[in-house]
């Protein structure tokens, strides 16, 4: 509750709304105590007095009545009617919703059908029909507005009731012999009440507006009684000669509705957990870069892609998560390098940092360089980054169902990938797209190009994603767990396909995975990541056969081997450290059985020439 109020208080618009609404309500409450003239006392001699003249604060209307007094009394009436309508609609709607949701079955069906019918009306029309039948009058307008809002409450409450009607505590109450009425009042109602209150807070503004509207049309309050709507309606005749008589009630309606809306929005936002974590911000076109120093140009390297001391962080509020903490890695032409690690080790963030695809906010690249053929990509202007994305460096992502656009045909998605980088006709691009689909062994490629992603199997979708990566014959493909979402046989096919493509086309691959088996099949070299850093690097054979870092060794020991008999599987004790509170020294030390006091004293460098390890007590000598 206190976090809710705190969140609400932080929302400046909601606070503003609450203040305005509070002031209006206070004014209305003390109205009977104020020394105001009778709101209905006519004085034809004082017609249409301007505001601030002759002692009339807001002037007078067409019958010489004091506008300020009428405004306050009218506001009181409008608020009361709106609130009453909300209470009636909320109560009846909640009752209907609870009955439908609690009893379910045919009762639910009949009630909800009827609700659907009511919702099929454009809804002021329904209110008009009700007023037509009952006759004009404020009370009838109130009933009409309440009635047309009942379906909204009934629907919301039914949804909540259905979700709790079969919870354990309700079943327990039923088994203990409680009657339906008692269960509803003691078990269901307390849980439904907050929903009703929130729904009221978001609709009461509408109801005030609607009753004012009916009064404006002359169908609500009848003279001499006046709410804000009928004040405005009466003033309309003199709108041109005495505009203040219209503006005064109009502005008041605006203020009330606006403050109620602002407060209602604030309440809803404060209760929505997604907004709490700040997750509803959209990622920008490229990751933010905030480097203290720009690394010098370096062109003497043969590597097609090299990462140097790359650092990427997530900044959420005051918290900083160091996802990538200084990663260096070089990939030679035609080479396949595996980057392996547990979930949360920073391997995917490393991969996405290369082309500035880390979601920002909250991601920020805070240091290091990513060189493509020697030229730094970090901090490169967006236009250059965009020109290289998909053209020189292409990505294959994990789950092709969510990474392909669900509403575009796969052929069109391929065609687009080509046409953003090459000025060729749509037809030529389409031909090329079909050819690409054939290259990745999709049977009946021409027909498949017309399919939507949801019409393809998981393996087929991943083939499409691979075809898309190949579209512009890139130098580097970054594959971020491309086989994780697939079953084992399909996984083997996809790996074979990638391997063949690499050999045929000489493309370099950075392969991100958590699976040593996959690394063994595909990669020339492998780097092992732990807590945002590389802890070991070497050729695949060396690392797999003789792991040097205790972490690698334990990780490989975790992989079950087919037909290897009764070898015991050893899970690594403990959990990887949270990257917002990394320990001093070696991040693995707290889980390492070899750890000594020295491990936690200072940063441990990644040592070695071809074979590298970040450990002072390595399992194998790598020097």
């Amino acid at each position: 509750m206190s976090t809710f109020l705190k969140l609400l208080a932080r929302n400046r618009l909601a606070v503003f709304g609450a203040a305005v609404l509070g002031a209006i309500i206070l004014l209305v409450v003390i109205t009977p105590l104020l020394p105001l003239p009778d709101p209905n006392a006519t004085a034809t001699a004082d017609r249409f007095k301007r505001p601030f003249s002759d002692g009339f604060i807001l002037g007078t209307d067409h019958l010489g009545r004091d506008l300020f007094s009428r405004l306050l009394w009218g506001t009181q009436l409008s608020l009361a009617v709106g609130l009453a309508a909300a209470l009636i609609a909320g109560t009846i709607g909640a009752a209907i919703g609870i009955v439908a949701g609690y009893f379910g079955g045919r009762i639910d069906n009949v009630i909800m059908r009827a609700i659907d019918m009511l919702m099929a009306f454009p809804y002021i029309l329904l209110a008009l029909a009700i007023v037509a039948a009952l006759g004009p009058g404020l009370l009838n307008a109130l009933y009409a507005v309440a009635a047309v809002n009942i379906p909204f409450f009934a629907r919301n409450v039914r949804g909540v009731t259905v979700s709790i009607a079969h919870k354990e505590f309700v079943d327990a109450a039923r088994l203990s012999g409680m009657g339906h009425l008692r269960i509803i009042t003691t078990e269901i109602l307390p849980n439904v009440l907050p929903v009703v209150v929130i729904a009221m807070s978001t609709t009461i503004g509408w109801m005030i507006l609607e009753t004012a509207g009916l009064s404006f049309l002359g169908l609500g309050s009848q003279p001499p009684q006046a709410d804000l709507g009928s004040m405005l309606g009466e003033a309309r005749a003199a709108m041109i000669t005495a505009p203040h008589t219209s503006i005064v009630p109009g502005v008041m309606i605006l203020l009330i509705v606006m403050s109620v809306n602002l407060l209602g929005d604030g309440v809803r936002d404060a209760l929505d957990p997604r907004l709490r974590s700040g997750a509803l911000s959209r990622p920008m076109a490229a990751t933010l870069v905030r480097r203290d120093e720009t690394p010098p140009e370096k062109t003497d390297t043969k590597a097609v892609l090299s990462l140097e001391n790359l650092e990427t962080r997530f900044e959420v509020g005051a918290r900083i998560y160091r996802a990538v903490g200084g990663v260096s890695l070089a990939i030679q032409p035609g080479e396949c390098v595996g980057l392996i690690g547990e979930s949360g080790s920073g391997k995917s963030v490393t991969a996405l940092s290369v082309m500035g695809l880390v979601a920002s906010p909250p991601g920020v690249v805070t240091g290091g360089a990513v060189r493509l053929n020697g030229q730094d990509l970090i901090g490169a202007p967006y236009a250059r980054l965009r020109a290289l994305r998909g053209d020189r460096v292409a990505y294959i992502f994990q789950d092709p169902l969510s990474t392909l656009h669900p509403l575009y045909r796969v052929g069109d998605q391929l065609t687009e990938a080509i046409r953003v980088h090459h000025r060729i006709s749509r037809d030529a691009a389409h031909e090329r797209a079909v050819k690409l689909l054939e290259d990745v062994h999709i049977p009946n490629a021409r027909a498949r190009a017309r399919s939507y992603p949801h019409e393809l199997s998981g393996g087929m979708r991943q083939r499409v994603a691979i075809a898309m990566a190949l579209a512009n014959e890139p130098e580097v493909i970054i594959a971020d767990e491309p086989t994780t979402a697939l079953d084992v046989t399909v996984q083997a096919q996809i790996l074979k396909l990638l391997d063949n493509l690499r050999r045929d086309r000489g493309v370099s691959i950075l392969f991100i995975t958590h699976d040593f088996g996959v690394v063994g099949q595909l990669c020339d070299r492998v780097a092992v990541m732990y807590a945002g850093r590389i802890v070991e690097e070497g050729t695949t054979a060396e690392v797999l056969d003789a792991p040097a870092h205790p972490y690698t060794k334990r990780l490989i020991a975790c992989v079950p081997e087919l037909g290897a008999g009764r070898r015991e599987l050893h899970a690594i004790p403990g959990l990887p450290p949270a990257v917002d509170q990394l320990p001093h020294g070696c991040a693995f030390a707290p889980r390492c059985h070899k750890a000594t006091g020295l491990c936690a004293t200072s940063d441990i460098p990644l040592d070695g020439r071809k074979r590298k390890v970040r450990c002072i007590l390595p399992e194998e000598d790598v020097a």
């Binding site: 454009p122 002021i124 602002l262 076109a285 998909g390």
Partner: protein, 315 residues
């Protein structure tokens, strides 16, 4: 596709029946004798009895309902007492005027609302987003009838840019430019609330979509940001925007009542209010059923548009 449209049309039949039942039920709520209500309290008993017979009000309710439905299916919506004219003729005349007004307002709210929402989402927390957010809050809070009056004061009375009211000029009007000059203010006043709602929901839908993986894929392909936003993201967001447009169409259609009164637009809303004040109940009944039925069909159009956009719901 044809099958889908047919299915939706068939499913509209019970809804239409339900609408007639509801309207009929409401009308039978009228306290006392409807014939007296129509003729007024000074009517002679003979006249009341004759009218009751003419209207079939001496028969049981269920029978009355089926007679009413049967007549409507033959195009007979009854006769307006105040206007001494068939209800359907009057409704059709007036509805065409409402359709012009509500149609213009709907196009405005859809186009402006979506554009504002997309810009707001793409520039989240930037100055454009803040400006749009404030404008949306004001827009959805201002009563359309008050806004209409203020617009008349400013643009018609003060600046004399546009005519005060009506659909056509009394002398020498009647062409399209004349209509547009008369249409501008009421259409804008009517669309404002709906524009705000559409903008707000479009922004939320876009923010939701922009976080999806396929947007990252588009960027990884090298698709330019403009195309990512207005192509990939908006296309996906439309799936949740279109149902909102359907709801807003209902708001615009019913909100036209106020605007037609303020701008003296000869539409069906003003006709209904006049009919209610004159207790011309058959006209109210016929008008409400007709407009509600049109709205049901419009919603079918929305559903079909939705299915054209999203291949996953087309089966």
């Amino acid at each position: 596709m044809g099958g889908y449209i047919l299915k939706r049309l068939v499913s509209a039949v019970p809804v239409l029946l339900g609408i007639t039942v509801i309207v009929f039920a409401i009308m039978s709520l009228i306290p006392g004798d409807p014939a007296t209500a129509i003729l007024g309290s000074y009517a002679t008993p003979e006249n009341v009895e004759k009218l009751n017979r003419d209207l079939g009000l001496d028969k049981p309710l269920v029978q009355q309902y089926f007679i009413w439905i049967g007549n409507m299916l033959q195009g007979d919506f009854g006769r307006s007492f105040a206007l001494n004219r068939p209800v359907l003729d009057e409704v059709l005349d007036r509805f065409s005027a409402t359709l012009v007004l509500a149609g213009a307002a709907f196009v405005l709210c859809a186009v402006l609302g979506i554009i504002a929402g997309v810009i707001s989402a793409a520039r989240q927390y930037g100055w454009a987003d803040r400006a749009i957010t404030v404008a949306v809050i004001l827009g959805i809070s201002i009563p359309s009838f008050f806004l209409g009056m203020m617009m008349i004061l400013l643009f018609a009375v003060r600046l004399k840019w546009l005519p005060v009211s009506g659909m056509y000029a009394i002398y020498g009007g009647g062409d399209l430019p004349d209509l547009l000059r008369h249409l501008a203010m009421p259409a804008i006043a009517l669309s404002l609330v709906a524009t705000g709602v559409v903008a707000r929901l479009s922004r939320a839908a876009m923010l939701e979509v922009l976080r999806q993986d396929f947007i990252r894929t588009a960027r990884a392909k090298g698709v330019g940001e403009r195309r990512v936003i207005w192509g990939h993201a908006l296309r996906a967001a439309m799936v949740s925007i279109i149902p909102v447009l359907g709801i807003q169409a209902g708001f615009v259609l019913s909100g036209a009542v106020y605007i037609e009164i303020v701008f003296q637009w000869p539409g069906v809303g003003r006709m209904l209010v006049d009919a209610i004040l004159k207790r011309d109940l058959l006209l109210v009944q016929g008008g409400v059923v007709f407009v509600a039925a049109c709205y049901v069909f419009f919603n079918i159009v929305v559903d079909v548009a939705q299915s054209l956009l999203d291949p996953r719901i087309r089966t």
